[in-house]
Amino acid sequence: MIQKKVCLLGTSGVGKTSLIKRFVDQSFSEKYLTTVGVTIEKKTVELDNNSVSLVIWDLAGDDDFQRMQTSYLRGTSGYFLVVDGTRRVTLDQAMELQKRVADQLGSAPFLLLLNKSDLTTQWEIDEARMTGLTNENFTVLKTSARKGAGVEEAFTTLAQRMLA
């Protein structure tokens, strides 16, 4: 079976770990995320005529206190930029992050996930901004780790992109 390394990137608290928890119910250990800065989980995605084993690296959130260790990105076949839809600033930070990792990851496919889509009343990212992103050739998906909306789709889409 094909295996692919996948990373989740984004500011602290955008819901990376929650997305993974929603997607896989199998965990290496939550402890490492605080000590080494990464936990690794695994899940097989069934595509139409193929199945891919995703080895998912949950990197500690990137923020002012803790820089993401870019060495963990090595060998990544695809990645998610995770954004908290209720905090517009996390989108800007995700764009910054994308520029930072673009060198290392080259043309690896990635998806931009606007997480916490269930919190519609606190939503801060307007349609115009989303259209702008789409025009910049970003693939944007709304997800909700709490409700599960869009999570499966996000991982499946990325898996398809990596095999294409």
């Binding site: 079976m1 094909i2 295996q3 692919k4 390394k5 199998q26 290496f28 490492y32 080494v36 800065g37 990464v38 690794i40 989980e41 695994k42 891919v52 084993s53 080895v55 690296w57 260790q69 060495s71 963990y72 090595r74 060998g75 990544t76 076949s77």
Partner: protein, 704 residues
């Protein structure tokens, strides 16, 4: 003969001559032309040199060092330039070579080291040393080698082949693969840890975490350019294992280098490397025996015999331990062993009866030095009724206070020492339900009371009014604040009946009284007459109306002892008996019995008074009795002033006696009356009409 040529001749020679020349010189000319062309054409020249160059170099090298010297600067320069510009190519090229070279060199130095170690150890004559020396002789190894081997016992449990770039697991082999997490996650985490270590300690890019130890497990990492091996090893692995791992990763790079370089996530292609990885799944428990000379066989035999003897000793020892265990098990309370079989190789078997509440055979086995895992128990449950078992069951159920002593004999449980009340009361209630206990003897028992628990009991029995506080210290209940009398009254009688309370202190307690309840208490006690109204106000019992004297005096004496009543206000209350007494007294004292002149016979109008007198006297005496007065009635006889004084005294005495006699005849006690002859009233100084002086009057006086 060389042909002669005349290039400058312009003059055409005769035909035959030129023809001849042409015939003779032509081959020469063609060869010459070809040579010239060859010298002029660079490419052809290079071709020609290339053909002879290897031979030339060989010849030249055979002959002298000249060529080497000539070539050195150029070769050195080109290598240097190549390394500077494309180091990776060199690294790739050298990688398979350098490994073995370095290993060989290390192996060489180790051998030297072993030899010096050998010499050092040869000086030692410890028992261990002798044993190893014996083993070295037997196996044909060097002494030092044996020493090393004996101290290195290990097992490679798992090996992962991990792709360096993607951190994905390519292949995993191992002895207990099930016990490990998913290999991809392990691989990822291993890579992360390596990166973490490298980043944290800022080591060079190519320096890697080579090993780390987790408890008994050591993880060794054999790095390669494109992939690395991670081996999980239990125990102390020898260094030669690292060599094995390094050789393996090298050979993997040689076998599958291109697949590793172009790895896109499909690890299937690496499955064929399993034998390579498995070659490193080594284990070493003890040095292997080697068959050798007769000499060695003898030693092997002797060692075998020694082993057998040792096994027998161990076996005998373990059988002794077994019998010891079975004996102890059988004598343990709550266990009756009916069958016990010792098995040398399988689990030994014990069957019998067991009281599950008491006995713990596994713990007994542990205590006897026998691994409970090696035992197969087969118990039928029963209720043990021997004293130790009963006592143990009792202790399990009720616990045993630290400073209490429990003994059991013939079903009588004797409790002595100090025990908490709660424990004791539970034991009193339920103790006899414990099978095997018929009665409980509380000899020399001191019961202790926990103040908090005692207070809880008190609160449960006497719900605390708001404003009242209670605490318990040394058996005394201290009350403070404000409390209604009725609650307090209940507490006074009830509290000391609660266990743990001997006294009640109310020093700091202010008591409040409900007037209605105080009145109720009053009426309950004194049967309020219909003619009396009563109410209580500010501690004062206000009485109004008329009441009998006896009741009133009881009230006076006792009312203030009623809680909530301090004093009595009886301004509006009339003492009925006093009233009657006074009325009768005045009726009696205003009655006169008149006499005939100079006679002690009653005059006619005297009878009227006399007829009313007995009733009145009766009323008076009754009232007086009720009032607690002892009275006497002075019967005062008078005479008119006619006649002598002496005669008048005598007459008046006779008259008084006559009235007394009359009244005695009416049923009164004679002692009630005090007849007095007072003579003529003039002696008293009063002037009365004559007939009025011939009379007897009355005065009610205290009995003298």
């Amino acid at each position: 003969m060389r042909p002669r040529i005349f290039p400058g001749s312009r003059k055409p020679p005769p035909d035959d001559l030129s023809e001849l020349r042409r015939l003779i010189a032509r081959p020469e000319q063609d060869g010459l032309r070809e040579l010239r062309e060859r010298l002029d054409d660079k490419e052809r020249r290079a071709h020609d040199v290339a053909k002879v160059l290897p031979e030339a170099v060989k010849l030249s090298a055979d002959r002298s060092e000249e060529l080497n010297r000539a070539l050195r600067p150029a070769v050195e320069g080109s290598i240097r330039e190549s390394i500077e510009k494309r180091p990776q190519a060199f690294i790739d090229a050298l990688h398979p070579i350098i490994g073995p070279v370095v290993r060989r060199s290390i192996a060489e130095s180790l051998r030297t080291l072993l030899q010096s170690l050998n010499q050092t150890l040869e000086q030692s004559f410890s028992w261990q040393g002798l044993k190893w020396r014996f083993e070295a002789m037997r196996t044909g190894r060097s002494f030092a080698e044996v020493v090393m081997l004996r101290s290195l016992v290990y097992r490679v449990e798992q090996i992962f082949l991990i792709h360096r770039e993607t951190s994905l697991s390519l292949l995993q082999v191992g002895t207990n693969a099930d016990a490990t997490q998913d290999s991809d996650m392990v691989a990822g985490m291993l890579s992360a840890i390596q990166d973490f270590a490298r980043d944290s300690f800022k080591t060079g890019k190519d320096e890697a975490l080579e090993e780390f130890r987790v408890g008994e497990l050591e993880v060794w990492i054999a790095p390669g350019r494109l992939a690395y091996l991670a081996a999980a090893i239990r125990g102390n692995p020898p260094r030669e294992l690292r060599t094995c791992l390094e050789e393996t990763i090298e050979s993997i790079h040689i076998l599958r280098g291109s697949e590793l370089a172009s790895f896109q996530g499909d690890a299937a292609v690496f499955a064929s490397l399993q034998p390579e990885l498995e070659s490193c799944l080594r284990a070493q428990y003890q040095p292997k025996k080697t068959s050798g000379t007769n000499h060695r066989a003898w030693f092997a035999l002797a060692a075998g015999a020694a082993l057998l003897v040792a096994a027998l000793i161990v076996g005998a020892g373990s059988e002794m331990r077994w019998h010891n265990f079975v004996r102890r098990l059988d004598s343990a309370p709550g266990i009756a062993v009916t069958q016990a079989d010792y098995h040398w190789f399988t689990r030994s078997h014990v069957a019998g009866l067991r009281d599950p509440a008491i006995a713990d055979p596994a713990a007994l086995a542990q205590a006897a030095g026998i691994n409970p895992e090696r035992l197969r128990f087969e118990w039928k449950d029963y209720l043990a009724l021997d004293d130790p078992s009963v006592l143990r069951r009792f202790e399990r159920r009720f616990g045993k206070p630290a400073s209490a002593d429990l003994t059991l004999a013939n079903g009588v449980l004797t409790v002595s020492g100090r025990v908490p009340y709660e424990w004791l009361s539970r034991v009193r209630e339920e103790g006899k339900q414990s099978p095997g206990i018929t009665s409980i003897n509380e000899k020399n028992l001191t019961v202790t009371y926990d103040p908090a628990l005692t207070l809880n009991r008190f609160r449960a029995r006497f719900p605390m009014p708001s404003g009242t506080h209670a605490r318990i210290d040394q058996g005394t209940l201290y009350l403070s604040g404000v409390a209604p009398y009725e609650w307090l009254a209940a507490v006074r009688t009830g509290a000391i009946k609660l266990p743990g309370i001997q006294r009640v202190s109310e020093e700091k307690l202010q008591v409040t009284y409900d007037p209605k309840l105080a009145l109720q208490r009053f009426t309950d006690r004194f049967n309020l007459p219909d003619t009396v109204n009563a109410r209580v106000q500010n501690g004062i019992l206000v009485l109004a109306g008329e009441g009998p004297h006896a009741w009133l005096s009881r009230v006076r004496r006792g009312a203030s002892t009623i809680p909530g009543i301090n004093t009595i206000d009886e301004h509006n209350l009339t003492d009925l008996d006093q009233q009657t007494f006074q009325q009768s007294k005045s009726v009696i004292e205003s009655a006169f019995v008149y006499f005939l002149v100079n006679k002690d016979n009653f005059a006619t109008e005297g009878f009227a008074a006399l007829s009313r007198l007995p009733d009145e006297i009766r009323r008076c005496i009754t009232a007086a009795n009720r009032l607690g007065l002892e009275t006497q009635i002075e019967v005062r006889g008078y005479a008119d002033a006619v006649g002598t004084e002496t005669k008048n005294f005598q007459l008046s005495q006779r008259r008084a006696d006559a009235v007394r006699d009359f009244l005695v005849k009416c049923g009164f006690e004679p002692s009630l009356f005090k007849p007095m002859g007072l003579g003529a009233p003039a002696a008293t100084g009063a002037a009365l009409p004559n007939e009025s002086d011939r009379r007897v009057g009355f005065k009610v006086v205290p009995k003298s």
